[in-house]
Symmetry: C2
Subunit: 282 residues, 2 copies
């Protein structure tokens, strides 16, 4: 009977390059929409629950989104001497980062997403992940994050760049002019963090992020996490600050499903080939 | 012209489950042979150089084998107070582990591989990786590793279980009876290490290895590495010893392309879901 089933199998494949792809068997495609900025697809997969891709690139799945969202929020949060309260998210239209920040006790979150349809789609298909958008502590702005950081007078403890890769709408986020503006709106001792791609398949994303941040901030550090549905399974994040970047006591911070205090110490210890990549980024 | 090319594209896919696969575009299939134990395939891929699969599972590629071979040899080596010299490898028919041990200065290596054809194929298609087999410090035995450890009187500093996953010929290696025999042949303070699968996709392999080792050794620890061509990109190794397991000075140990002293400290710091997996393994 299995061979009969195979005739009607459907797969979603993400091309990591012309020569490599990861494929998910899907029960159903729930949505495919072209917005003003990008194409959004939602699939119901067998192994990972619902999956959202943007321009053919997996953004999140129900099964493993916890790694990305814990690591982009909890690692920088653990570096504050006092407990951080105010955060700005650039991108993050799926709501996962804002929802995670609420769990950590942030009480004022501005989330600037350029593509309102990402938000709408997430509310419909990922209600748990996007639930922050119905919380009064979260202010959602559907506008260009680059313009927002240039024009706002607000100050934040933590700024999170939760963007797609540095092609398309996110390109301008991997740029020192952008970080100059970011620097003006983080409070004394504040921190900015960005996702910076797969060091293995996208070394340029990490190099670009590192260079852009080093041009503006005296302290820049890279950490990594394992995310099975992202290219190579190995992902980098880069943090920067005027203050020294090191783990604080942060006893208020709970363990997650991925994050814990051991990971906080371990995630900044980089393979030699990643250290080489960063060293080359001026 | 690109679409015309696509008509003759060939891909090798590894199925991680019925619902997930990673696919490599290949220039050519160089070999497909059914041995007494398993099927061996060799492909020339575009992104990863030559690739060997056994029973459809990627064993090594030229581009990323360094991670696995460094991490299975250098992490346990770094835990010896004196510099280790004698090693036993069970499996490892591609020669990568033995070749790496020679680089680290081991001067007596017994490599017991059950399938002589893995060795022959590796000598032909991966001459650099398998070059240890023509070195006089390496003694290759084509026989059953389980019987070998049961019968030998030799003693070793380091025993490396460099096996396929715990199905097929490697099944008996994830078993406490096997580790009872291993314990008899490691010198005082000696260490045994095994690959123990992807914590994400193969939690049973890690649980089995942990249980088998805990039944025999007082000290057992798990570490991880990122290996892009293995399922999920996130791989575990488990070490055990009668002696305390902790990083020694090991100033004799060079950095690799992946391994360095930071990674040595960081690789034992486990995500919370991996700690939970291990905790449940009695």
């Amino acid at each position: 009977m299995k061979s009969a089933m195979k005739l009607i199998e459907n797969w979603f494949s993400e091309r990591y390059s012309d020569n490599l792809q990861l494929s998910f068997r899907v029960m159903d495609q729930l949505l495919s929409v072209k917005t003003d900025f990008q194409r959004i697809d939602i699939f119901e997969t067998y192994d990972f629950g619902k999956l959202m891709s943007i321009d053919g690139t997996v953004q999140l799945t129900e099964r493993d989104e916890f790694v990305y969202h814990e690591m982009i929020t909890m690692v920088p949060s653990a570096m504050f001497k006092g407990r951080p309260k105010k955060a700005l998210i650039i991108g993050g239209g799926d709501g996962g980062t804002a929802t995670q920040l609420l769990k950590l006790g942030f009480d004022h979150i501005v989330n600037v997403e350029i593509d309102g349809q990402v938000v709408e789609v997430s509310k419909k298909y990922f209600p748990e992940i996007s639930k922050a958008f119905s919380d009064s502590r979260v202010r959602l702005l559907v506008e260009d994050g680059i313009k927002y950081v240039h024009n706002t007078d607000e100050k934040f403890d933590l700024v999170i760049i939760d963007s797609t890769d540095p092609v398309g709408p996110a390109e301008g986020l991997f740029n020192s002019n952008f970080y100059k503006d970011v620097r003006k709106l983080i409070s004394n001792g504040g921190i900015v963090v960005t996702q910076s791609g797969s060091p293995f398949y996208q070394p340029k994303a990490l190099a670009l992020a590192t260079s852009a941040m080093k041009a503006v901030f005296p302290n820049v550090a890279t950490y990594t996490a394992f995310i099975p549905t992202y290219p190579s399974g190995f992902w980098s994040f880069t943090v920067a600050s005027d203050a020294e970047l090191k783990a604080a006591d942060a006893s208020w911070l709970p363990d997650g499903k991925y994050f814990n205090k051991e990971i906080l110490e371990g995630c900044f210890r980089l393979p030699e080939f990643v250290k080489d990549l960063i060293k080359e980024s001026k």
